[in-house]
Symmetry: C2
Subunit: 711 residues, 2 copies
């Protein structure tokens, strides 16, 4: 059952007529002390009631004014959530505003990212240099640090890019997972060196999205006790009342998912209820907590509060004035009262103390636990252990033929041994994706130090949780896996990985019709192109062992863009001309019998079709043709090469070119040119043994030769 | 609370040692009568216990043998769900095997599509011509009607293509929605002409996927009382026990979602419990029901039952033999005992009677309710009312400039008036997507006759539910809407729409950086290409009113492939040269000042950039250049045109070509050729006013002119 915030405190609040009443409000100071705010920095007293009210209204009006100035934005959520935002940031969140990247900070995610003015206002008050008054005034303008949704790459202090609903919630699960994992690995009874909460604010929209349910089911399963989620229950979404589409019992659902739940019925003025709820949530160690905070969207606006019109539009001059009058906030736009400034200024010293204290602790930790400290340091800094890449397996043409999914597993296991922050898992396909780390057990509620993550059949949350893990610490390198076709289920998360610059490694096996009998629902044909079209992502399709190792090497080195590896289910031959170095260039010559003379033909392949291309080239060479074979293993890397290199691989004068790839041919025009020919699959696949499908769809050596002859 | 199937019946089953005991088992015959099996065809007696056992084992071994022969497939689910399958198909499901498309049939969806041998075995026993013994023996082979996952386009009797987990569940919600909607519109107190159940079997995987939670939340909200879902609770997924990743309380979650829930604890032999559960589910009219049926995966296999190894692999010769011995099934592979054949044969007559009876009812309905009957007929047949397309709005260059999302709303409203089966909605963006049908109210639990569907923020379920609606009746034309960038959330559903040939219309507004301040998370740049890469789909980007009407016309006509319309948030001018007929060709000339003489340049644009291109062309023409402007509104349709038409639009000799589109340039090589230039956005967008972003990213008339000069 949903528990209600203590009614006694609630009644006291009502009776006292303002935000709090000390004797009733803070019975659980001990709890806050116990859960970790260092004694040296614990504030015995929160701000005076008047200052809290002023601070909350400051937050509200910074949002109102910024949206008004931009003539665009979402004032409703910040106006409703300002009390929660104030209490959380001012009284609970541990951070150092002058170092937004301090490792042991609490993580905060605004999953309802449209309400970003709440976050910007809080970051500004808290003293972050990333959000100055000028930044607030440049809300939603070109080049500003206050874009229309929170972007981690624009605004230090923003942990993850949010906006697409539900993603931030799942990111928060990843952040909390990372904390639990690192705490289990590195904390010692005498020294808790990893110890922070992850807070997230989600709206009705986040709750409706399936990805948040997936992530929440996992968070409950994993018992992420330091994850505290606020559900801003304001009854309004863009189309109006949530009654028209969202009448489920959210708290009951969360209980079913294994969460502790609390309902703060008065999120508008119930400061003590909010405080009590957070304290209760902190006291629950074995379950994540969902705090439903019932608020009024657009609180304070006399004519627009509690309507959808305040969700995503500026209030308008008249209503801004009415709201100022209603809340007795008779200030100029963007006003921050001195008392509010003075009060919030304590965070600068407090934050510095928190970090200094932790730094001292780390010095002690380093002395006592030298090896662990070195490992943790590398996870924090992202510095890879020297020689890490020499751990990657090497292959020769004589190595046995193997599926690249199996070769991938050898890489994953090698990397997990060499890199302390390497961890990941599969969406219930570990034994098909070949992603188990053999030297580790399963990350579970009672075994959080392990590194095999079991995501269940939840691709979307898997991607978003991996993004959260990657954003936690530079040296955490998460990989996640499913069948390549199911990148479609997680595409929104992959896109955010690319957008927010997270170096997640997406291990995508069964990468073509080569998977055979499962048929067209399981056979990717357009996924290569749909991902090649996405900015800031590396789409690899390695052909054998050397290329698989090469792809992993680049993927690990690219900490600010994700990599997708498309891997075969079926065995592939180890080829002669492939190289690790070649992969780094994205495209390269793997064989050529022209000896610098005129080339008759360039054959281009990727992944499992490269061996078909090689065989066809051999046959054509036997007939006296000069043929070059190019592996185009990663188009994005190839495009980044200098023009002369590209020209050296694809000389302009050689217009006879054939590409062979078990996917749509759309897009190959780029490399085969107007006179070339693309062999591929411009239809959905079919259910049959793999060899049969390859043959029926013309992906054969014979067909390549026939087409080569026709050119 | 989850209710348990009556223990008295359960005890009786245990006591009797076989499947049922008549006096205890059928106290609720009245209920079944009441809920609709026509009195003339109600079977007073189910099969004798021995026949039920034989039938269930027949189903099990058809699955075992087919998988064994194919050396590939999923025997575990059919072996565990055979009792449920038998009871449902033989005793409850109303269908006519000789007409799988009979309108008033109960719909059955196997959401856990990997277990398709269950469905094939049942269709075979039930007498469907689509699954002969030869078909069963050709399981998972090239060209067979028994592919590795159920495909509606391969196997009559299969309602929807399933396999990607969770989709079928959401499709079933769409099928049930369609039934509720049509029943509300067409049933009369004296004549229930639309009256069937929708059944779905889902596995653990379906339950973990977010899309099923989204769809289930909606099904609960809508009170889809005739939706009955079975959750095959077998504790095993591919990675092993569900304990490693899935420990939530599923029934409690469904209760929170507003469902009635039942738990059949013994799904292996508790036939009466299954029967009682279905009867109970049928008796609950105001809520959908989830029946959790606890089964043993691979039931009967002495060494592999209850393990993941029986999930997705053939048992192997030895284990098949051991299973035959264990279940005393000492027959040749693919054996169907005569008693079983004889028993199931009644479905042929019964099905014919069911349909005949309904046909008679329809004759009566037609007499009494002539207008309604004509409308329903057109929904059933898919025949469009004559002259429907003349309802589409027309525009001239003098029509006011407008956003294509607004023009789209005019089309939607016109079509909904003209076409009785036209309905749809948005994922909580109705007022942004401009998708409300003004003459209709909201489809809700108590207003199911209405046609505005409120999907909430659930893009993925929206797509999958729309697929279900489209599969219900040929004449139902569902549209669904969100921001174009969020096609990423629903891509798996769009792909299934394309694969299973459903003519859903995806109305995708805010189709570029033109949406402005919301920033890169909300600005599609790669989505056009990622959808152009998908087979069997039409991707439209209309430029003005005429093109918007033209796109809708084609979308409505294409009942076997989906259409995606990318529409602008911002106002666009009505252009001179655009035409409805041009859209039908996908690409066409909208202006050309060459008078048949040599062309200096071809400018190509789509959507909102077509007016930029036109303006640039005008400027260049003023300088004496001969310039052609081509609108490439739908690449797929253009590719389907004869070569000479394509050549007439893009003459080979004109190599100076520039494309302008507010998206990635990748893929434009196809039309601009090696010497052309693509103007686009090869990065993520940015948060700023739209005009500013267009300018900063070079999507301007000036830039087009500058580049034209450089060519």
């Amino acid at each position: 059952m949903a528990t209600q915030a203590p009614t006694s405190a609630h009644a006291a609040v009502a009776a006292s007529g303002h935000g709090f009443l000390l004797p009733i409000r803070r019975p659980s100071t001990r709890i806050r002390l116990a859960v970790g705010r260092p004694a040296t920095t614990l504030r015995a007293q929160p701000a005076a009631a008047e200052v809290v009210e002023q601070s909350v209204n400051t937050i509200r009006f910074l949002a109102v004014d910024a949206v008004e100035k931009a003539k665009s934005g979402h004032p409703g959520l910040p106006m409703g959530c300002a009390p929660l935002g104030h209490v959380l940031f001012d009284e609970f969140l541990r951070f150092n505003p002058k170092n937004p990247y301090w490792f042991n900070r609490d993580r905060f995610v605004l999953s309802a990212g449209h309400g970003c003015m709440l976050q910007y206002a809080l970051l500004h008050l808290a003293g972050y240099d990333s959000v100055t008054m000028d930044d607030l005034k440049a809300f939603r303008q070109w080049g500003s640090r206050t874009p229309g949704h929170p972007e981690n790459f624009e605004t230090p202090g923003v942990e993850v890019t949010t906006g697409p609903l539900g993603q931030g919630f799942a990111n928060a699960v990843g952040l909390a997972l990372a904390e639990k994992h690192l705490a289990a690995r590195f904390n010692r009874p005498d020294l808790k060196i990893v110890d922070h909460y992850t807070y997230v604010i989600a709206g009705d929209g986040c709750q409706m999205e399936g990805v948040s349910n997936e992530a929440s089911s996992l968070a409950g399963h994993w018992g992420l006790g330091k994850l505290i989620a606020f559900y801003d229950d304001n009854h309004i979404s863009i189309d109006g009342s949530t009654n028209i589409a969202f009448t489920e019992d959210v708290l009951a659902r969360y209980e079913a998912l294994g969460w502790h739940t609390i309902w703060v019925k008065n999120g508008n003025t119930g400061y003590d209820d909010i405080r009590a709820a957070i304290e209760e949530a902190q006291s629950v160690k074995d379950k994540p907590t969902l705090i439903k905070v019932t608020t009024t969207i657009g609180y304070g606006s006399p004519n627009k509060a509690n309507t959808y019109s305040v969700h995503g539009s500026a209030l308008g001059t008249k209503e801004v004035e009415a709201t100022r009058n209603n809340l007795s906030w008779l200030h100029e736009p963007f006003h921050v009262p001195d008392e509010v400034k003075r009060h919030w200024s304590h965070h600068i010293d407090e934050g510095a103390s928190l970090e200094a204290e932790w730094n001292n602790k780390f010095v002690e930790y380093e002395k006592k636990y030298h090896k662990e400290a070195a490992e943790l340091k590398s996870i924090i800094s992202g510095e890879l252990p020297s020689g890490w890449d020499s751990a990657l397996p090497t292959y020769t043409p004589e190595s046995p033929a193997d599926a690249t999914r199996n070769l991938s597993q050898q890489c994953l296991n090698a990397l997990a041994k060499a890199i302390p922050g390497f961890l990941g898992g599969s969406a219930d396909l570990a034994t098909s994706n070949m992603t188990l780390l053999k030297m580790f057990g399963d990350f579970q509620k009672d075994a959080p130090e392990e590194r095999n993550i079991r995501f269940g059949v939840r691709e979307h949350a898997m991607g978003a949780i991996s993004n959260g893990i990657a954003r936690h610490s530079s040296g955490l390198i998460p990989y996640c896996a499913t069948f390549f076709v199911f990148t479609d289920y997680m595409r929104a998360a992959i896109r955010l990985s690319a957008l927010c610059g997270s170096g997640v490694i997406f291990v995508m096996t069964h990468d073509s019709i080569g998977l055979g009998e499962d048929g067209p629902t399981h056979q990717p044909v357009e996924q290569l192109f749909s991902l090649r079209a996405m900015p800031n992502i590396l789409m690899f399709r390695p052909a054998d062992g050397k290329e698989t190792s090469g792809a992993y090497k680049i993927a690990v080195l690219n900490r600010e863009r994700p990599s997708v590896l498309a891997l075969s289910r079926q065995k592939l031959q180890q080829l002669k001309g492939t190289t690790v170095e070649g992969v780094a260039k994205g495209g390269y010559i793997i064989s050529d019998n022209s000896s610098g003379n005129k080339l008759d033909l360039i054959l281009i392949g990727t992944g499992s079709e490269l061996e078909i291309v090689e065989k066809a080239a051999d046959e054509l060479r036997k007939k006296g043709k000069t043929v070059r074979v190019v592996s185009l293993v990663c188009w994005e890397l190839f495009e980044e090469q200098p023009e002369d290199y590209k020209e050296s691989v694809f000389p302009s004068e050689v217009t006879s070119r054939i590409s062979v790839e078990a996917g749509v041919t759309f897009g190959w025009e780029k490399y085969i040119g107007e006179k070339g020919k693309a062999i591929g699959i411009d239809r959905f696949g079919s259910s049959a043994p793999a060899g049969k499908i390859y043959k029926e769809l013309g992906l054969t050596v014979q067909n390549v030769i026939a087409i080569a002859r026709s050119l």
